[in-house]
Structures are given as C-alpha cells and as structure tokens.
Symmetry: C2
C-alpha cells in the first residue's frame, strides 16, 4: 500500500466538485456545496450519529443506503438542517435535485449537511447550485469537495492510497470535515470515502463499521456528539479486482487500506479541533481488555483539565490518573505508569501510582510540540488502544462563545 | 426554618479555626489549614468520591466515619495528598496530631485535603500548624475555616439555618469549597456540615446520602470527578431535641434543612466554577422519570458547547437539543420546548423540536445576566430535576493551562 496525492475523485470512475452556492451567505470565497459521483452503481455503506436528535439528511441517507447501493453524495456546509423548519422536505429536495442534475435515481443519492442547528436551510441557493456543481464535476474535483464540506475547520482533510489486489491496482480516497462537536460515537464530523475496488456490499458494511469503530469513534474534541455525523463509503468496482468478500484473500489488505484512510482522517479531525494548538494522542497499553483500554483512553482525551494542561505544556500527570479513575473502569493505580512523549523525547512522570522526580525543563520541551503523546501502561494484560484529541484553548471558547453571529 | 448568619461553628458546642500553616508556600495571606471540633461526641456521616483513584485522606476518613461517630475534622488546602509520596503516612499524621492537640481519640478525627495531585504534602508545616489552630478554636472561627479550605475558589461558601424541632432550636451550618474538577458523583469539592441536632446515626447517614444526591451530585463545572471529594456531617445533639429517626415526626423538617444547606452550597460551588462568569441552572420538567430528567439536565449542563454559548450570551438552543440527544436517554424531540430565563424575563426559543422566531435582542439581554436558566419541558411525565453548572470561559483555560506553577 502506498500513499498518493489525491482524494475522493482519484479512484477510477469517480468525479467530484465543490462550489459556493450561497448557504454561507456573504462569503463568496467559501465553498459550501460538494458533489461526489460515480459513473457506475457502487456498493455503499454508511455509519451515522447515535444522537437521538438526528438531522433530516441523516434519516434520508440512512434510508437510501439500506439497499447497499448508491451513486452520488451531495453535501452542503453552513447549515446542519437539524431541528430546522421544513428539514425533511429540504433534504428530499437536495436528493431529487441531485438525481435530476445527474440523470440518476433519487434512491442512489446520499445527502449530508453540516453547520448551524435550528435554522431553515437556504434551499433555493442549494437548488440553484446543484446543476452548477454537476457541470463542474471532474477527476480533479476532490480537493474542491474537501473544501466545500468544511465549517470551522482550518485545514482540508484528504487522503488517498493505492494497493494491488488480485493483480489490479485499487485506489481508496477519502475526505472528512470536523472541528467542533466532536466526540466518540460519530462525533459533527462527516467523512466520504470512495474506492474503485470491487467489494461485496455486506462485506463493505462490515469493514466500514469496524474501521469507524477504531478511528472516528476514538477521537474527541469536546465531548459533544453531533446531530449530523455521517461516514459513507462508495465502492464502484472499476478497478476490476476479484470481488472482496469476508474471509476472502484480499479482505485483510483492503480492510487495512480503509482503516488507514479512516484513521488518517480521524487524526486530521482531532488535530484540527476547534481552537486546538496541538494533537494529543493517548495510548493505553497493557490493559486486560480492549473495551477497558478504549474507555480509559477516551476519558483521558476528553478531560478538560488534561486538555487545558496540555495547552499549557504542563506535565500535570495527576489529572491523567484522576481521569483514568473516573472512567468507570476498575484498575489498580499502583500498577500504572504514565509517560509524556513527542518528537523531542519521552519522559516517565509517574509509576506505581506515584509521581517520579523528573526533569521539568525536558517535560516542558516535550509538551510544547504540536503532537504530544500521553503514554499509559497498566500492567494487567495485553490490550492496547489509541485515542486522539486536542488541547482546550482560549480559541475554543472564542469560537463557541458566539458561533451563530 | 430561617437563614441566619453563620457557618460550621454556629451550632451549639462547635468551634472552628482557619490559619496559614505553610502548605501554600509563599502566600502568608492565604489560609490553608482548617479545624472543626465539637465539644461532645457527634453522630457522623460522610459521602466520598467515586473516583477509583482516591486520595489518602479519603481512605482514612471513610474508615474513621464507619462507626458513625466523630468529634473533629482537619482539612488542609494547597495539596490534595493524592497519588503523592508517603500519602497514607502523612494523612495518618494529620489525624494523630489533631487527636493529640485536642486530647481526643484518633478514630474520632476525619481528615480531608484539597489542592494539587501528586506532590508530597508539606507535613511539617501541617504538624506545626495543628496545635496553633487548636489554640485559636472559637465559636466565631467558622468563617476562617471556610477560607482555609479554598483553592481556586474566589468566594467563600457558608450557610446556616435554624429551625424548631420538638420545642428546641436546632441549628445547621455548612461550608464548602470547590471550583474546578467538579462533576456529579462528588465532583474537587469538600463540604463540612455541623448541627447541634440530636440525630440517630443511621438516619443521619441516610439523610446525608439523599441530600448529596440531589445537590452536590447535580452540579458540574468541567466533568472531572476529583480524587478527593468529601462531604461530612457532624451532629452533636446539644440542641436537646428529641432524637430524629427515620420515619419520626421531625425527620422531614430536619432533612429539608440539611437539603437546603447542601443545595445552597452546591449552587455556590457551581457559581464559583473556575473562570465562570455566570451560574447556569438547567431545569428539566415533564420527564417520565427522575433518572431521565437528571441524566438530561446533567448532560446539558456539562456540554462545552452549551457552556461556551452561555458565556457568549448566545441563545443557541440547537446545542441544548443536541446535548439532550446524546444523553443516552430516549425521548421524542418533537415534544420538547426550550426556554431561556433570567431576572430580565423568559423567552421560548424552541418548541416541537423546531426553532421559534424570537426577539434576539431580548434573548441577549436575558443571557447577559449572571444567573441564567435553561428551562426544558419534555411533555412525557411529571418528573422534574434541576442541575447547576457554569459557563466555559477564557479564564477556565487560563487557570487550568498552568495550575501547578
């Protein structure tokens, strides 16, 4: 498997576009409408927010993806179409307008929205924009699509890989957005993945579910699980490889490629958390189960006190141990070792549940880097889980203190 | 029941003191050692943190309160004595030094600590301070004790009430501290309550447990449950009232007095949350169970996005509905009404799961007050729960970005 430049329009038979249609009013420079389209029918799978309050497009896409088939994704940013007047009608209009512009069945269109909750979406702008976006569809349009799904994101999030399967070159590309309202269980994040691999639909569904579980569901920016989270994968089979099935010989290699895509995009989301200055990776090693390791890693990543300490480059390991303690999991603090690491080096700060004398200056240097690791060893088993988050900063408060205006 | 000026040294037979002993080094003005003592043996009950990582004094006090009897509380601020070298030994020293200074049994002394985690406590300063504090014990010392247990608190937290029980005047006084690392399930908070009421020990335990459940366990500053949370009540019986027993005629009136004390102190803690500019009260009405109402109210109060919106006086009700949705509780969004209220007035912003047209200027004025209410009606039953929190501000980040130095 190799990483190549590209995104969702790189796999064979996929085109994409991203334009400004007017949902983000008064911001002509900001793209707000994305289209991703396959020439041919795709195997399709999706995972969606677990929030009881779901946006209208989420219900629509959950329904349209049920048959395991789709051809296109339409997505706007600037308005989540959640708890909003006429939400169902407008989501349906986005679906039918896209079908019409592309000359395909509405059942083959998946819809996503992201942005502010509770305001009626500017459907006229979107309806006018869809035919324009359809005209601009191209094999170089992936980047524009990546830009068009952004809200408070500072960085576009794209990744693409190629691998050989059954003598054929298979490409998998993905984009994502997400910055605030991010938390495990499909934290506001969207991710769209395309591939020209030939994959049996039920197998695709399993692979996506497992890949989301160990990537997007292991990041947290602020503990808020949004109303709109959606991850969709489309596989059009144009690479011509032998069909990938559960237990088949290419299953593992293809799963790993998708897992790499989702993990890379998840990390990009965590790093671009609202107001964040750094990516925090929490590794929990030596746990007696994966569940326990995951619960503890996520609790540490979520703790506002840990996050604020990381912002301040403060080696305050007591907060790490404290967060572990309220994770709800049983463990023996006396067996716990905590270290901080970054490209500068690694330093153990706590062992046996007690603080170590350590070089504060070195700790500061380690924690001042843009990517820091909280490395926890539990000495009770063989399971290891990694979760990703970001620091809590003044800018998070600023961004969210007045988001609507 | 009437509110009177006073605190833990107001009930008959109680004395208190608060001094600077040196745990908070280089801060001569800051008191850091509190003593609360009863002339006679008290019925005693305590509730303690649910964090798996408990500070040494928590284990000691859990053990000493087991027999339902105690005479004194010693508490230092500036160091939590949690995950710290020689923690058990130093907690025991605090206990025995206090017993010696007061001429009582070590088993009758309860110990609490609050402050930074993971650093060895300056036990020499405390050992030298205890006899000094014992000399200063007085009936006016409650306020000094309230000051001496503070860490990042900006305001001291004291409350006192009197009521008539069986023809006798009974007094209940309480103090508390808590500002950061505050979350339901005994979020770092300490609270000490004294009363001269005559209460059967098992009954006192039940009353405290219930009162903590509906007060301290319904506040959240940051979702971090600390290693040190402790709430203790001492009842010395010197008011001479007939013994209060479960089901007895004074049970209700006394319970209500204790509930008033714990609720008042809990609200004071929420209002004084680290960096907070306002108290946020979330009322959930019309729920089908108390548990559900509580879970939803706590989730709303905890949401960083709701908290940041309240800081910005932004009537962003979508975030309220979103938080309700990820509370883990089932409900029908279409039955939900959300209003914001303060002394300025009340404004409905969402009903039937959809936004209402509302006067943004009025909403802004309502939310700019120091005490705001998020009022949620669910239309599915008769249960109502109130939870308390505070806004998320730049100062929270500042305080916690560099707490140790």
């Amino acid at each position: 498997m190799k990483i190549i430049n590209g995104g969702v329009s790189t796999p064979k038979g996929f085109k994409a576009a991203g334009i400004h249609c007017g949902v983000k009013a008064g911001n002509e420079d900001k793209k707000d409408l994305a289209l991703i389209v396959s020439e041919t029918e795709c195997a399709a799978a999706g995972t969606f927010t677990t929030n009881k309050v779901k946006a209208a497009p989420v219900y629509l896409s959950m329904n349209n993806v049920k048959n395991g088939k789709a051809k296109a994704i339409v997505c706007n940013s600037g308005n989540a179409n959640a708890c909003a007047p006429n939400g169902e009608m407008h989501a349906m209009t986005m679906c039918t307008d896209t079908a019409k512009a592309l000359g395909i069945n509405p059942e083959d269109v998946l819809v996503a929205s992201t942005g502010v909750i509770g305001h009626e979406i500017n459907i006229n702008a979107i309806s006018a924009g869809i035919p324009k976006a359809a005209e601009l569809l191209s094999e170089d349009g992936g980047k524009d699509a990546a830009l068009a799904i952004m809200t408070t994101d500072l960085a576009q999030k794209e990744i693409c890989v190629q691998l050989e399967l059954g003598g054929k070159t298979v490409t998998v590309g993905g984009i994502a957005k997400g910055s605030g309202m991010i938390h495990p269980n499909m934290g506001t994040m969207l991710s769209f993945i395309t591939t020209d691999a030939n994959v049996e639909p039920e197998t695709l569904k399993q692979i996506l579910k497992e890949c989301v579980r160990i990537s997007f569901n292991r990041i947290s920016v602020d503990g808020d699980t949004s109303t709109n989270d959606t991850c969709i994968i489309l596989a059009n089979g144009m690479a011509g490889n032998p069909e990938i099935t559960a237990g088949g010989e290419d299953y593992q290699a293809f799963s790993e490629a998708v897992a790499f895509i989702t993990r890379t995009l998840a990390i990009k989301i965590a790093k671009d958390g609202e107001g964040a200055t750094k990516l925090i990776t929490c590794i929990v090693r030596g746990a007696e189960s994966e569940d326990k390791a995951e619960k503890i890693a996520k609790t540490v990543i979520r703790s506002p006190l840990v996050k604020a300490a990381m912002f301040g480059a403060d080696a305050n390991w007591g907060r790490v141990l404290c967060a572990m303690g309220y994770s709800g999991e049983e463990f023996d603090p006396v067996k716990v070792t905590v270290a901080f690491a970054s490209e500068t080096g690694k330093i153990e700060v706590c062992t046996g549940g007690r603080g170590l004398e350590f070089d504060e200056e070195l700790a500061l240097k380690i924690l001042q880097k843009e990517e820091v690791v909280i490395d926890i060893t539990m000495q009770e088993g063989d399971f290891e889980v990694t979760a990703w988050g970001c620091d809590l900063t003044y800018d998070y408060v600023k961004i969210n203190g007045d988001y609507r205006t």
